[in-house]
Symmetry: C2
């Protein structure tokens, strides 16, 4: 059975049905971003009448996407009945394909992680992946039975870049996927609507969903994956470029002790492992790195100094070019290490550095190692929260 693919929909004209969809998603989006709100408040924020919001809320509540959450007292007048997104109103599957593993995350409609799994993989070619995924989907559904009829779709996350580019053919690429359209194949296999995105963009969306309450809708996300990727989010949407491969920051030249070098050759999981190996330390698991970091291993500290310098330079470029609200670090690194990296990184002077400094310009993400897999799911959820006519 062939499924509709979830993809960036082209700009469409408005009619009654699509207007309703637009407004439904707008209401859900407000509730997701701001938490509990009453009808009148939503109406003010969206430019609709209370009556219209009232009708939409009735519909969303009937569909189980919304829950009443008590009354807001304290101010004059009739207390507003507050509503919140019903976490079990919908679920989204996020699937990250890596060369040696598949990571799966199941998010509920509120963006909470309700299930996750990591499955080692001997070969990440299309056939092997297609054979494994239905089992993972069913495992998720058996652990979270409520998700059974409420699975909105799956977000597939693969290391980029996609399509034929001069940076193709690197070791980070997955084998066999150049000739296969992942969306079509996996949508059929999973029997779900599917959306495909690269790891950095997905991670950015994961953080967007997680940080929405802070109003983070224009920011950048540095993701430690097979290499180093940059996810750019502007007004809640991913900036993917004309061909979908924006954010390829790994090649950015940075000054190091050994002269100019690509950012990725200093600031990445592979670079760290290489550095440690140079000191006679083998550490391929994240726990090993975490332990080394905890114990204050000198080899790791020398890397941190180099990495912080490289990160600072990258940050200067990111901030001057994109003026993000913040740059978020996440991915395959121990959280404590990233935290220290943030502290160790000098903040460059950029157009984005503001006097009021209310926001931390460089921070770690909330989604850690599952960021990309969660991001796949977040991409699906984002479609419920983003007004349809705005896409």
């Amino acid at each position: 059975m062939s499924h509709r693919l979830l993809q960036r929909p082209a700009l469409r004209g408005a009619n009654a049905t699509r207007s309703r969809d637009h407004n439904r998603q707008m209401v859900l989006g407000q509730l997701h971003a701001r938490g509990a709100l009453g009808r009148a408040e939503i109406a003010r924020r969206s430019g609709l009448t209370t009556q219209a919001v009232s009708n939409i809320i009735a519909e969303l509540e009937k569909d189980g996407l919304l829950l009443a959450a008590g009354a807001a007292r304290g101010r004059r007048g009739l207390p507003a009945t507050q509503y919140v997104v019903n976490p079990s109103g919908g679920y989204a599957l996020g699937i990250e394909l890596r060369p040696a593993a598949i990571l799966v995350a199941l998010l509920d409609l509120s963006g909470e992680l309700v299930w996750q799994e990591r499955q080692p993989l001997s070969c990440a070619d299309p056939e092997s992946v297609a054979a494994i995924l239905p089992g993972l989907r069913d495992a998720a559904l058996s652990k979270v039975p409520k998700a059974k009829d409420r699975l909105l779709g799956a977000g597939i996350v693969m290391p980029g870049p996609f399509g034929k580019t001069e940076l193709s053919g690197r070791a980070t690429d997955l084998p066999g996927w150049k000739e296969t359209d992942p969306a079509t194949l996996l949508s059929d296999v999973l029997d779900l609507p599917v959306i495909v995105e690269n790891d950095a963009n997905a991670a950015a969306m994961a953080e967007r969903i997680a940080l929405a309450a802070e109003g983070m809708d224009s920011f950048a996300c540095l993701y430690f994956g097979t290499g180093l990727g940059l996810g750019i989010v502007q007004d809640g949407r991913i900036v993917a470029g004309a061909y979908g491969n924006a954010g390829e920051i790994g090649q950015l030249p940075v000054k190091t002790d050994g002269g100019l070098a690509p950012l990725e050759s200093v600031l990445s999981r592979a670079a760290l492992e290489r550095h440690l190996a140079g000191h006679g330390i083998g550490a391929s698991e994240i726990q090993e790195i975490a332990r080394l970091h905890e114990s204050g291993a000198p080899a790791l500290q020398t890397w941190m100094a180099e990495a912080a310098s490289a990160l600072s330079q990258a940050l200067a470029v990111i901030e001057n070019l994109l003026d993000p609200r913040a740059t978020v670090l996440c991915g395959a690194m121990p959280e404590a290490l990233l935290r220290d990296l943030v502290v160790a990184t000098p903040l460059p002077r950029t157009v984005s550095r503001r006097a009021d400094g209310a926001q931390a310009p460089l921070r770690i993400g909330t989604c850690s190692r599952m960021a990309a897999a969660r991001g796949g799911a977040a991409l699906v959820l984002a479609q419920s929260f983003t007004p349809a006519l705005a896409a």
Copy 2:
């Protein structure tokens, strides 16, 4: 009299009126981007019914925004009545404020330049500018009387960055504007809706309007202004960052013969003049530079070599980070010089470099020196072509 300001409208809910606006703008946008189209074709592209498009076209034609443009013969069936944007259906004023001059452009609804003016300025502070602008507006209207009641608004273009940043206070800033809100002041003074943008972003929109026929809607624009700016356009919208100051590329470090230096210190009008001065050549007017270029002056050629190397490095960053369809050069440089610069610049290996290479990845713009002023007007026009609910 206070005027509504044209600004990025917040995402709004849909109702009948706004849906109609959305659809009207969608129809105009299609016509602007693709030229002559029939009702049925527009309906297919927009996902509306022919009947709806028919009603909208009747309305737009009555409003004078559209013109019938003959019938499309050749295929079976009734020939479609083609429509095009009526150039004199609306006009937009673009006003670029520079430290020593004001540039004004009047564009018609089709995006054609119908009038331009350059007024030298002794002081670019708010009072002086406010005193001069009404006269310039009236000069435009007297030269193009048809624009009298059809002026959609004015786009004010100023060198960025806006707001308090650590890069403020440079020589490129205009005096006295930090404390004044340009939109409010100039909207009152001009008695027009006003939108304010920085020069690079405006130039990018000028090129977007001019190149729309090529389907350029995700690209980057390098603008030679008081410094060097980058305008980023994604899906037809400006990527301005969280605080509106994205595209500050001047500080990007590039390798030069003298070590790492900010891009702007090599690749900018000021850098060129400095370089020429170092060779004992004074050239502050663009015509002088054009003459030097024409005559093959060695000092200019050595600069070109340096500039091309710097541009190549900048291009690598732009392409890897933003994956644009193309990078467009424009602004205060002789067109022939930019053309040679494009030829002299080695194309870096990036994620954006494509095997099919149908598009020139680096090209010069069509709006040349008036790019920013035209861009101000283009920003106003873009609002007529961009579906309202998509903002």
